[in-house]
């Protein structure tokens, strides 16, 4: 299963096993995949298929039980993990705010962040400068998620992983977050997006990976995968949600 473009990530026969003996399970099984640089790759599939596990392998919040994950051509385990996570940022499904104010929150990523730089970060996520000193408990879900995006890009990652970043938001807030993601893509960031909404995948993604029951059942250019899936499992999934 190949996704074309210069690879930023290559997964080779990756299996993730949890538990042992009779209770063990395989959230991911024999996944082979490449993810291109400077593109948006959407990972789609039913709930519990292993999409988030696949995403978390890419910044080493998960470890493969067998197989290899490569980042820029080298085994990912050979990178200093803290440095890797600054190059490969993550935005979680629900906004997780870490500071009392927006500025405090951004400074969790970069303690030396100046107010002017913080203002630029807010502009990148389409939030006005007045938000800088707003208290985070008063933010809406969409505003909170955009602050999380600003915090993630504060460390200037090369890749951004986003785990269903709009699934907990209403349509208006989801659209605002999607616009921010589009802006980051336009500025050259590589985006790997776990996505529950196939229309969003069609709008944002260059490439689509379909994961069903821990296996990659289709991968390739978004239009081809979404319109003409190559496997019966992918066809069944896409037919079920479209």
């Amino acid at each position: 299963m190949e996704v074309m473009a210069a690879p930023v990530f290559e997964l080779d026969e990756v299996t993730v096993t949890r538990g042992s003996g009779a209770t063990h399970s395989h959230p991911l099984s024999q996944v082979t995949l490449t993810i291109g640089t400077g593109r948006c790759t959407a990972i789609v599939g039913p709930s519990g298929a292993g999409k988030s596990t696949l995403l978390r392998l890419l910044n080493r919040l998960e470890e493969p039980s067998t197989g290899t994950v490569r980042y820029r051509g080298a085994p990912i385990a050979t990178y200093d993990v803290l440095s890797l996570r600054r190059q490969v940022g993550l935005v979680q499904q629900r906004p997780v705010l870490l500071g009392d104010t927006v500025l405090d929150d951004l400074r969790v990523a970069d303690p030396a962040l100046a107010e002017q730089a913080a203002t630029h970060l807010l502009a990148e996520v389409d939030l006005p400068v007045e938000f800088l000193h707003r208290e985070t408990p008063g933010l809406s879900g969409g505003e909170g998620q955009r602050v999380c995006l600003a915090r993630a890009v504060a460390v200037r990652p090369e890749v951004l992983l986003a785990d269903e970043p709009t699934s907990a938001l209403d349509a208006f807030a989801a659209n605002a977050v999607e616009q921010v993601l589009r802006g980051l893509l336009d500025r050259g960031l590589t985006l790997v997006l776990v996505c529950h909404d196939l229309r969003q995948a069609r709008r944002l993604a260059d490439d689509v990976v379909v994961v069903v029951a821990g296996r990659v059942v289709d991968a390739g250019p978004a239009a081809r995968v979404l319109d003409e899936p190559s496997s019966s499992e992918a066809r069944a999934f896409l037919a079920g949600v479209s």
Binding site: A77, R85, Q92, R94, A109
Partner: protein, 282 residues
């Protein structure tokens, strides 16, 4: 001076065994209330009453032997046994955390060693068994509570605040940096009760050591000196136990790739379900 001689020297009034037996009338009153209100606790009250009497007689006899014959080595052995028991009890609060028994026992042991050691070196207490054993018991008890509260809070953090910790890890923070807010919260949680107790000591209750000395005939202005030492000792013991437990357990909950490990399965059965919204401050 023997204990009996000390008691005699201070003209201490100690209730006779018939008087102790007469106090059981109050237990009868308790059972009567329990029965009248149909609380279903009469049997438990009876069992607790008998257990308390048997345990205290046994401990009294053991301490009497210890004070007269065991010397410093015996006293330290007694304190060590208390440390082991406390470590086991405290470990239950951290079920699901790896190596928790070793962590809790070490935390209590270090707190006792530091606190008692400092008190002995500064001559705040003597090494006589009748001093070392009860003072050691107080330190072990304080260290046990601090360790239990710290482990409980950390276990909850591992199961409930995972998104907050992983959000920090995903920014390239080390395990220690990412867990620092959780550890601070755990230590605050452990220390606040003893800080509050220290603040109001003497105002809303007369603490045990001071009360005991006053009953034994020691002038109040002398008794409070002991109590001040005890309060400061407990503050130190709580802080050391909480810090040691927190720092040790921090190493067991992350792996070498700075990933937060899940709780062990047998511990998950006792973990409270998460009711905290994801946007809680960490």
């Amino acid at each position: 001076m023997t204990v009996a001689q000390a008691v005699a020297a201070h003209h201490v009034y100690v209730p006779s065994w018939p008087a102790v037996a007469a106090s059981a009338l109050l237990v009868a009153a308790c059972i009567a209330v329990v029965a009248r209100e149909r609380l279903g606790l009469a049997r438990e009250v009876a069992v607790a009453t008998v257990r308390a009497a048997v345990q205290l007689v046994a401990v009294g006899a053991l301490l009497a032997w210890l004070f007269e014959h065991a010397g410093l080595a015996g006293s330290l052995g007694w304190v060590a046994a208390m440390v082991l028991v406390a470590g086991g009890v405290s470990a239950r609060r951290g079920r699901g955390l790896r190596g928790v028994r070793a962590v809790s026992t070490t935390a209590v042991a270090v707190a006792v060693a530091v606190t008692l050691g400092l008190l002995v070196v500064t001559h705040a207490v003597t090494t006589e068994p009748r001093v070392l054993v009860p003072i050691g018991g107080m330190v072990v008890s304080g260290a046990l509570q601090a360790t239990s509260l710290t482990l409980l809070r950390i276990r909850d953090a591992v199961s409930e605040n995972r998104p907050q910790v992983e959000a920090r890890l995903a920014l390239g923070q080390s395990a220690r940096q990412a867990f620092a807010p959780q550890l601070r919260a755990a230590l605050r949680n452990a220390l606040v009760p003893t800080i509050d107790t220290t603040k109001v000591v003497g105002l809303i209750s007369l603490p045990g050591a001071m009360t005991g000395l006053i009953i034994a005939g020691v002038p109040p202005l002398d008794a409070i000196r002991y109590q001040i030492v005890v309060m400061y000792m407990l503050l130190g013991a709580w802080a050391v136990a909480g810090l040691v437990a927190g720092r040790m357990v921090e190493h067991t909950i992350f792996d070498e790739a700075h990933r937060l490990r899940p709780l062990l399965r047998h511990g998950m059965t006792t973990a409270r379900p998460s009711r905290r919204p994801a946007r809680n401050r960490s």
